[in-house]
Structures are given as C-alpha cells and as structure tokens.
Symmetry: C2
Subunit: 193 residues, 2 copies
C-alpha cells in the first residue's frame, strides 16, 4: 500500500479523472512517485470503495464521459496518519547508471550514446519544471511566494524535481565527455600509469 498516498496527495490539488491523473503523474508526480495509467485506474476504484476519495460522473458530448475524484475527509485523515509514520527511505531505479557501473567491461559506445540522449531529455524536462514553477508562483518572486499563504507543497516538490534533473543533466554530460575522451585515448594506443 504505497501508491495510494501518492494518488491522494496528487488529488489534493484538484478534481481529476484517471486519465488526467496519468498525465499529472507523468510530468510532476514522477518527481516522487512513478505509476502507469493502469495502476491509477485500479487504485482510484479501490480508494473510492474505501471512501478515501469520492467520484462523480462528468457527461461530455464531444468526447467520452469521465469520472473525476476528490479527496474525502477520510482521505485527508489517511494522509495525516501516513505523515505520522516514519517514511521508508526512498528508492531509485536507473538502468543508465547500471550501464555506467559496468562500463569498464563492455563497449562504451552504446553507453555514451545513451548518456547523450538522456542529457537532451533532461534539458527538456528542466525547461518544463521552470515553466511549472513560474506558473505556480504567479507574479511573486520565489521568496515572497514561499512566505505567502498559498499552497506550497507542489512547489517544493517541483523544486526538488528540477534540481534532480539539473544534476542528471550535469552528470550525463560530464560522464559522456569523460568516456569519449577515454575511448579516444585508448584508440590512440596510450595507456597512462
């Protein structure tokens, strides 16, 4: 039971359908939790039967109807209990780092190519985060916004996400450069001390 709290936390921000949530998970919740759409659909059903969220049907004429959900008081209480129990340490799964770990024993070219590709992707993601942050704080500068009465949870987690991507970008870039340089050096035949 772990995804449920991420879904509840995301739904605090507004009334969303499974489909909408899936997109929100993709671009902002993924900073702290990963889930594919199927997980959301089934988790939403479960949360509704348990009374932690309540859904209502929205009839649409130009596109399929949808069911949107809001967090109930029971849902907020559940989040309160969740925050009161010690958080397990976070986990990371990153195949690209697995490859770098093994890079001394396999051909480096494929690894370098992937590092460079991911560097581009992370640059794009940083842009997105910048945009989200500007949007969330509106007219205020960051300091003023963080001292305002407005909700700041989503802003704070987005700050963490941006920083993570910035560090990814930096590491992808410098690691690719280094591996390239070494590939060049060994190709030229020189093995230093």
């Amino acid at each position: 039971m772990a995804l449920r709290h991420a879904v509840l936390a995301a739904l605090l921000d507004g009334e969303y359908s499974g489909y909408q949530l899936a997109k929100i998970f993709d671009l902002s919740v993924s900073n702290f939790w990963h889930a594919v759409p199927q997980q959301l659909y089934s988790e939403l059903s479960r949360l509704e039967t348990e009374g932690l969220i309540s859904g209502r049907q929205i009839i649409q004429h130009d596109r399929p109807n949808k069911r949107v959900y809001t967090v109930t008081q029971a849902g907020v209480d559940e989040l309160e209990r969740f925050a009161a129990t010690p958080a397990k340490p976070g986990i990371i799964r990153e195949n690209l780092l697995v490859m770098v770990q093994a890079v001394d024993h396999i051909s480096a070219d494929a690894v370098i190519a992937q590092l460079e590709e991911r560097a581009l992707a992370s640059a794009a993601k940083i842009e997105l985060f910048e945009h989200t942050l500007r949007h969330l704080r509106g007219d205020l500068d960051e300091e003023a916004f963080l001292q305002s009465a407005a909700p700041i949870g989503p802003y704070l987690t987005c700050l963490r996400g941006r920083r993570f991507e910035q560090e990814n970008h930096e590491w992808f870039t410098s690691t690719a450069r280094l591996l390239r340089a070494r590939a060049g050096a060994t190709a030229e035949g020189g093995e230093p001390a």
Copy 2:
C-alpha cells in the same frame, strides 16, 4: 527482468556471496538500484541456472559456508546487449516527498520532524560516499584517477550517488526550515498577502 543487470554489474567488481551482495546493494548499488536480500538470493539462483554467473562453494569453519559467484562470458554478453537497448527512464519512489506534496492539507509538524531526521541520515551517507570515493581513487586526485586505466564505472556511479545525497540534504534542510518558519508565522496569527 531488470534486477538481473544490476546484479551482474555489481558482480563485475569481484566474487561475492548473496549475503555480501546484499550489503553492497545497501550502500552503493542503491544509488541506481534497490533490492532486498531475498531478491538477491533468488536472482542469483536464476542467473546461475541460466549460465550468466557461475558459483562455487566456500567452506568456512568459523562461520556458515557460502556460495560466491562470478560473471561468466555469457553474463558479460548479456550486459553488452542490455547496454545496446534503450534504457527506460529511471524511477523514484520517495514517501517523504509525498508528504511534502500534501503538507498544505495536513499538520506540518510530523513532516518537519521527518525532514530533519532524513537530513541527518543523508549527511551520514555523504560521509560514507566520500570515504568510498577516496578509497577507490587511492593516491591519485580525481582528475588523474578518471584518466587512468583503472575501472571507473563504480567511481562514476558513486559520484552521482554522492551528489544526489548532497542535494537531498540541502533540500531536506531548507524545506524543514521553511516549514518551521511558516508554522511560526501562522501561530503568531499573521497571514500575509
């Protein structure tokens, strides 16, 4: 099938038992992959039946016997194939960020307490990484080491891990401070514009 490559990459570094691997996963592989001991024991059996690693029994008199494993050529080939296929984007799961996301709707005290606790834990982890890095590079300074002929994969992933923990520490600390300040401000009754 994802854990297998992390196990193979970790085993490139030496000959280890399941028990030893579990500890290695805890303190360094966790930078890019998470696994509990049970997963390792069963994954090791599977990898051995598939011929990607080969194990041998070590008889010990002062403590239980153990089975240690090394990566076979087939295992290295498997890693080579792995590195040649596009890596899926990494995933993160961090309950503490879920709590911060929800912090506007629940009482902040528990969240602040956890942030401060985790800040301490990440400081300790940074120390560990520093130590590992010094150990890996031996007498050389970082630049010289990274240009040497020595294996650098483990060093590079450790660099990423250290940076991640540094950023965690920074974010835990500043977020806790901010939430504390806001708690104080609202307790004193003042809600700014």
